[in-house]
Symmetry: C2
Subunit: 509 residues, 2 copies
Amino acid sequence: MTATVGALAPISRAACVGGGVIGGGWIARFLLAGIDVKVFDPHPAAQRIVAEVLANAERAYGMLTGAPLPKRGRLTFCASVAEAVADAQWVQESVPERLDLKRRVLAEIDAGAPAEALIGSSTSGLKPSDLQAGLAHPGRLFVAHPYNPVYLLPLVEIVGGAATTPETIARAKAVLDAIGMKGVVIAREIEAFVGDRLLEALWREALWLIKDDICDVETLDDVIRYSFGLRWAQMGLFQTYRIAGGEAGMRHFLAQFGPCLQWPWTRLTDVVDLDDALVEKIGGQSDAQAAGLSIRELERIRDENLVGIVQALKAGQGGEGWGAGRLLKEFEQRLWAQAGGGAPAPDPTAPLELLEIRVSPAWIDYNGHMTEHRYLQVFGDTSDALLRLIGVDFAYVEAGHSYYTVETHLRHLGEARLGEALTCTTQVLAVDDKRLHLFHRLFAGPERREIATAEYMMLHVDSRAGRSAPAPEHVLAKLRAIADAHAKLETPAAVGRAIGQKTRLAAPV
Amino acid sequence: MTATVGALAPISRAACVGGGVIGGGWIARFLLAGIDVKVFDPHPAAQRIVAEVLANAERAYGMLTGAPLPKRGRLTFCASVAEAVADAQWVQESVPERLDLKRRVLAEIDAGAPAEALIGSSTSGLKPSDLQAGLAHPGRLFVAHPYNPVYLLPLVEIVGGAATTPETIARAKAVLDAIGMKGVVIAREIEAFVGDRLLEALWREALWLIKDDICDVETLDDVIRYSFGLRWAQMGLFQTYRIAGGEAGMRHFLAQFGPCLQWPWTRLTDVVDLDDALVEKIGGQSDAQAAGLSIRELERIRDENLVGIVQALKAGQGGEGWGAGRLLKEFEQRLWAQAGGGAPAPDPTAPLELLEIRVSPAWIDYNGHMTEHRYLQVFGDTSDALLRLIGVDFAYVEAGHSYYTVETHLRHLGEARLGEALTCTTQVLAVDDKRLHLFHRLFAGPERREIATAEYMMLHVDSRAGRSAPAPEHVLAKLRAIADAHAKLETPAAVGRAIGQKTRLAAPV
């Protein structure tokens, strides 16, 4: 459900100067976190580009999480920098990578923004000290360097310059963490910071390998994505090598690996000349690699894979979540907590609308339909949403009690396709001190086709003792209130039906 | 199920000289593909190390796929190189990274192995031409460079030297592809090939960033795993940048990015001195980053995450699979095809044992138990296994017909924990021309605790017309044979039961 809670962040108003692919990604992050955004970008196609990035972001977010996002912020395009930044609490600059241009724009922002506003630059390489030189309030200027696609990749490198105040860094990190991003503070400023320096090194070597015909671009990409790329989605360089070092760990690994540094295993001491011939060679090989997939198609595939990878990491470390997956898990827990707080009392005269989510790429089978068990996942998430509504939340489960499912009766009435919006409703059929009898209905698409139903019998348990136990009065009271209201609803015909009751066979035929 | 089919590969006998972490990974890959392996490694702890790697590999494989692996190959430790390689069809050398040592060992292998045997070296940097110099049969020597953990990361860089024959390269690739690995042929030999050159470049830059206190190792790792690491698990450098270039694609991106190559964005022109101080600095920071997790624990987390990531990619591109996920999907299809071919006729006097799998990390909820919908996933996979048994396989579905589930009745009787072995049995209750009535039982652990049951009603459909249709006689004949045999079995008490039938509540309470 899209609960109408307030903004997630310590801020509610942002401004984005520059709305390309990166600026558009920032705009999407802010809007989806419930923050109003004012945009200035003189580019004639700015509104179209931002709209496209925003559409991608909403599609991806919808597949990434079923947690209740706050009410989307208001998007306003402005005619000038001054107008865009006038009441902003955070201004994000994402103009082209030219020092003179950025300095001029940042001076305008500094002059027009409220004194307490934070000013972040998306620069991927320029030093914040160089950017803040000449500003009236340089202390609030910092680098906030994100990665494409900004709406899915959580990392933001936070880099302060000589004049940046510690409070600025602390406030910037707090805002980013609050909207589900990963603000990482870089201790000392340096050109290109950390991520792009690593990428730059790899990129230079890669260009040599292509130029010297050691391999083509597809082979080079395969080398990455079938090997260390799979490692790096979850652990970085040092943690991975710590493991490679075996029980002796990092020091042993370094002792082993050290000598190779002296070997001629790189051409990085030269800078490759990216001349027309090399550009054409790479361009041609890249066309062949794409095998007819358009940029839009590749973008969609990339985002769907990112969603699947992050969701897989969310299940990491025995359900605790790992890396980007744990970040998502913690973000969702805050979203649920907020929604619980701010959610309007559900209408008792109708089944509860407890879950809205889009069909995630990982849910599709080779027929192109939503896989059988994902129906049960959505129904299970809906039961969880009901439990949170009656006070059976993470803390309650932590404390040793919960409702467990003992029986489920699923009926498949239709199919759902990738990216389609799903809505699930719940009718409480009956309640006693231990048992909870539910009926879920799953609808797909704007026309709300009923594609499945699930009848549930749940039991309240003492999970430590491993046996059923009466639910506490404060939980039962909430449940009975809903059950009493739902008693006025018609009992669905499917309730109490056994498998194939209408179609029972004389066994065996 | 672990069907007793033959080896997957064009070979059935391999030898591994050197059984450390890398050699052990090769041994596991071969054994799990049904290939017998003879090992020579003078290291006193060799047998223990290989046993540990093999245990990790079997645990990971069990979680990675429910497809029927061939009967595990025979593992034999030998007292000499000559004994190990005497009847081998593939010899893999994985001794320490010293040219003189590798040359001596390879000469022994070359002298002792059958003339037609392939000889692969696991070297991560030495040129095959240098390795084959002086061999009696240099044409069969090539580099087969894998990545750690070898039993999960599919990539093998295949590199030939001056004397290596094209047939050697082709045969090597065929064997690797057959056992589910990704053999990538590098066009021209060069020290460190492709993957390690890229890693080397990144690694050198990383060492400078730590030495110069730009960041610590945990920050550097976070920069990787919260940003481009997530991209690289699915797409490499060039395909990713093609997308970043937008509609204009690769050439546009290069034009934009080219100039930066001249900027001072790297210290790679110097070689960092990995002195004791730097080793100690990195070692200490790495200890802090590990936060008390042992190498074994980190290894387990890494493998579980890899399983989850690859399974997510298997669902990529609308169920077609992407990258390492498509590789797994294609491998599983071959495994199913083989098992169908070589599987023994199931015992008709008992429920069919159609599925064996271990509880995957992605299946665990925050209680540490297997999540509700994963039960249905296992039951669904079991139904698929039955369908394949009666001829409803990929080709059959491609041709436009299939069985769809219309109703399911699940009962939860117990719980399963991470890594626990699951077995699922099927009893065919009834069959007619369109309908199929099944009862699955799920057992956990060596003691086979019954943890859930599922009653299924399936319908044979014409998937293009989108309606039910009679199944063809060749399918019905197979089904009836099983149904007739199962008619002699007792009908489970749970069959035909409605939800809460034994525990029905007067609704509402």
